[in-house]
Amino acid sequence: MKRDPQSENPATAAIAQQGGVPATVGEPFVAEPKMSVRGANVFYGEKQAIFDVSLDIADREVLAMIGPSGCGKSTFLRCLNRMNDTIEGCRVEGRFTLDGEDIYDPRMDVVELRARVGMVFQKPNPFPKSIYDNVAYGPRLHGLVNHRSELDELVEQSLRRAGLWDEVKDRLHQPATGLSGGQQQRLCIARCIAISPEVILMDEPCSALDPIATAKIEELISELAENYAIAIVTHSMQQAARVSHRTAYFHLGRLVEVNATDRVFTAPEHELTEAYITGRIG
């Protein structure tokens, strides 16, 4: 992956000629952003997936990103901890900052970045290890603890925060793959928070879960928002409405609208948002 903020892109130029990328309506910016993105363009080879997106994520807020398949919401999310680095032919332009620090700066340590900006994926992906080792993996890797007792405490604390402790405390050393889907996802969240991230990115964290497991994760998201900034991509509009403070609507790679979630689901500002929310485009 290459990144070249100065590059003049033909697709962007073409849109500029057609009267420019339509400005995002609503309130994409916040007073004290935890993460901040300005002028993001993302390309897969020749194809542009994201067009001039600017957006802030505040600390201790849940930002939901919604939109039809292929609208670029997951691509955008993956830029926030440089997960797109691993994709061949993917090129990211624009300024992405975490606490004002450019995360695409060549001096930025990507491993450290991903510790600060954790990610939870669509399908629960526990390591083929014990429950305990799944959570202990990150702290060990990053050298966060010195003693076994500290590690025990951290594992317990993380599992408690993920709402999983009571269900697994008696079988910490059994394989994580023996857990149910919902438990596995909460384990992944515990693994993510064990290394004390500042931001948690969630890419459709409930799409493989049943309604009860989903409700537990949603409950957890609300609790986690007391300590972390959370950006969540979801296909479930009800989920976005339930868990998030602000909602961003993406359409064909563009950020159409960002507004308070209460507003977006009752009286959205942009007609594309309205059409998507009410099930007129999909």
Binding site: M237, A241, A267, E274, I277, T278
Partner: protein, 230 residues
């Protein structure tokens, strides 16, 4: 956004459900309008038969309220409507309640009509009943029309009418009080006229509420208990 489209959902059934909800509410509106017109005519003409018909039809209005509200609840449960669809369901549910209350007021007027006709003769204050009656009937018709066309402008234009009705009501009270002081024997009959006028005035309030729901539905702004008029 000042235009509203309730069709073109991916689910055609959803389109149909919303359309049905709206048309049933308007159907109820039509029935209630007729109830008000009949009740007022019964007062004016001293026609107790017509008044009895109004009392009979009242149950039909009540049944419509319950069944439309149930339809709205089911639609929420099945579709989880959002944005304009959600506002549509909420607005219908609220308007149906107002319409049912308009029906109640029509019933009160019809009861007064029966009493007044039993007492015989055109009582004082009939002019006011006719005048205010026409005003609120127009308000009601215009509010339902604005709903049918999703026309927020038209709905807002009705709001000042309610203030006129309120002023007319106040001045009618002053006049009726004078009658009662002049001729204490007329008190019970004039009181009946006064209750009728009060019922008419309330119909104006409900028409105003429906207009506020049209603005909410179309523009997504709740103007209840505000001074917003444009």
């Amino acid at each position: 956004m000042d235009k509203l489209q309730l069709d073109q959902h991916i689910s055609k059934q959803f389109d149909a459900d919303l359309e049905d909800l709206k048309s049933r509410m308007l159907e109820m509106g039509g029935l209630v309008e007729r109830q008000v017109a009949d009740a007022l005519r019964a007062v004016e003409a001293g026609d107790s038969e017509l008044a009895l018909k109004v009392l009979e039809n009242e149950t039909a209005v009540d049944r419509l309220e319950v069944s439309i509200d149930e339809e709205a609840t089911l639609l929420i449960a099945r579709r989880q409507p959002a944005a304009s669809d959600l506002r549509m369901v909420m607005a219908v549910s609220r308007c149906v309640r107002d319409l049912e209350r308009v029906g109640d007021e029509a019933k009160k007027i019809a009861k007064m009509a029966i009493q007044l006709s039993e007492e015989g003769g055109a009582p004082k204050g009939c002019v006011e009943v006719r005048h205010m009656g026409q005003q609120v009937q127009q308000m009601l018709a215009r509010s339902l029309d604005a709903f049918a066309r999703f026309d927020a402008e038209a709905a807002l234009a009705v709001l000042p009418e309610d203030r006129k009705v309120d002023l007319d009501f106040k001045s009618a009270i002053r006049e009726l009080v004078t009658y009662m002081m002049e001729d204490p024997r007329s008190i019970s009959r004039v009181l009946n006229v006064l209750w009728t006028l009060k019922a008419v005035e309330r119909i104006g309030d409900h028409a105003k509420n429906i207009c506020e729901q049209v603005v909410y539905l179309v523009r997504g702004r709740d103007i209840r208990h505000t001074e917003i008029t444009s």
